[in-house]
Amino acid sequence: MSAFLTLVARDLRLAFRQGGDAAMVIAFFVLTVVLFPFGVGPEPELLQRIAAGIVWVTALLAALLSLERLFQADYEDGSLEALALLPLPLEAQVLAKCLAHWLTTGLPLIIVAPLLALLLHLDPAGYPPLIAGMALGTPILSLIGAIGAALSLGARRGGVLLSLLVLPLYIPVLIFGVAAIEAEIQGFGARPDLLLLAALLVLALGLVPFAAAAALRLALE
């Protein structure tokens, strides 16, 4: 097994043993979405109108919750220092950790999102672009989040700093994710927005490893 997969497997094993993180993200996602009918009223027309936005905004916030631990635990117990001294380049390790993070948080979000959309009376035409958009968008959330998590390492109140750094960068994902659903419902087709999300994903895959690895090296100096 290559070093890359060994690292992914180790992070997944840690996530399953510690349990809390992934379950907390899903619980937060579900609870927050459920709050909206209480807050804005249960009228199906209103909920249907705002369903796409609610699901996407809440998914962004849920993804944000788990980011702080992405490098923090490894930083505190010295594992990050040891990882940085392995033959596998730190850039590849960032990708491995993002992949593990996405598998434990992004993937569950994709699975739960359609159920929550059902709760909010999302138009049936909106489901395929919701799932496709989440499949393209949640990896971007993990990747951009990795930059924020690396930059806020060692900072006091790193969690708050992390939110302030990362949330503005999440806006494009939110815009195209919601636009894909709206466009499909209105009959224009979701293809352009999904392609833009795919472009963002490719861009993030190419740039994030270098940015995050540079930030990690600075934190370790």
Binding site: L14, P89, E221
Partner: protein, 225 residues
């Protein structure tokens, strides 16, 4: 490639004119060393004299403020991947996860270095054969230290950088570590370690960091420059 060092022997790990700065403060300067295959370098000096900083410099974790580290005469910065592949760095923290067992932790670090063999001999070597299945949160400080050091035996590397390796070790474990170091050196490996305790390593070079401390005037001049 520019001529970087005068007549280095193949496999020599050398530092020339090394200076290290932490924050604004100059810690040491003008430090030279040569570490041949099978050699050992023992760093001594009071707290804050830069023993850990020098080890981190050698590992490539922090950049040199001045001077150059070279392997066989080639600047290590030219190929950091190759440098990382030939070194083991055991710092102050043990890099263990509370929920992973001792065996799993060691196997992870060994596999990340490309070792495929079983880790049991490495565990046994540091007296942890019975602790392999134990989650790391139940290990004592000494056992955690032994487990960190077992990484040395689980995957081969030409250069061992050990920061205060004797901390929390009992006499038995210290003897096991010294035996491992002796064997490593007999096979042509190199060791750099920092210590406060008197340590018996055959014909090791002692490097006192206090000798390279900048004078107050020097530190001030460097700051202004």
């Amino acid at each position: 490639m520019p001529p970087t060092q005068t007549l280095p022997n193949p496999g020599d790990f050398t530092g020339s004119g090394l200076a290290c700065r932490r924050g604004e403060k100059l810690i040491f300067r003008g430090l030279d060393f040569v570490l041949a295959a099978g050699g050992a370098l023992v760093l001594i000096g009071p707290n804050g004299s830069g023993k850990s900083s020098l080890l981190r410099l050698m590992a490539g974790l922090t950049p040199c403020d001045a001077g150059m580290l070279a392997w066989s005469g080639t600047d290590i910065r030219e190929d950091m991947g190759a440098h990382r592949a030939r070194l083991h760095f055991i710092g102050h923290s043990d890099a263990l996860k509370p929920v992973l067992s001792a065996g799993e932790s060691l196997a992870f670090w060994a596999r990340m270095r490309g070792a495929t063999a079983t880790t049991e001999p490495a565990l046994a070597r540091f007296g942890l054969a019975n602790a392999a299945m134990l989650p790391c949160r139940y290990l004592s400080a000494g056992q955690r230290r032994r487990l960190a050091l077992a990484r040395l035996a689980a995957a081969p590397a030409a250069l061992w950088l050990l920061d205060e390796p004797l901390t929390s070790l009992d006499t038995e474990a210290a003897a096991q570590l010294l035996a491992a170091i002796a064997e490593h050196r007999a096979q042509g490996g190199r060791v750099v370690l920092s210590t406060h305790a008197p340590i018996e390593l055959g014909d090791a070079t002692r490097l006192s960091l206090a000798d390279f401390r900048p004078s107050p005037a020097e530190a001030a001049a460097r700051l202004l420059a």
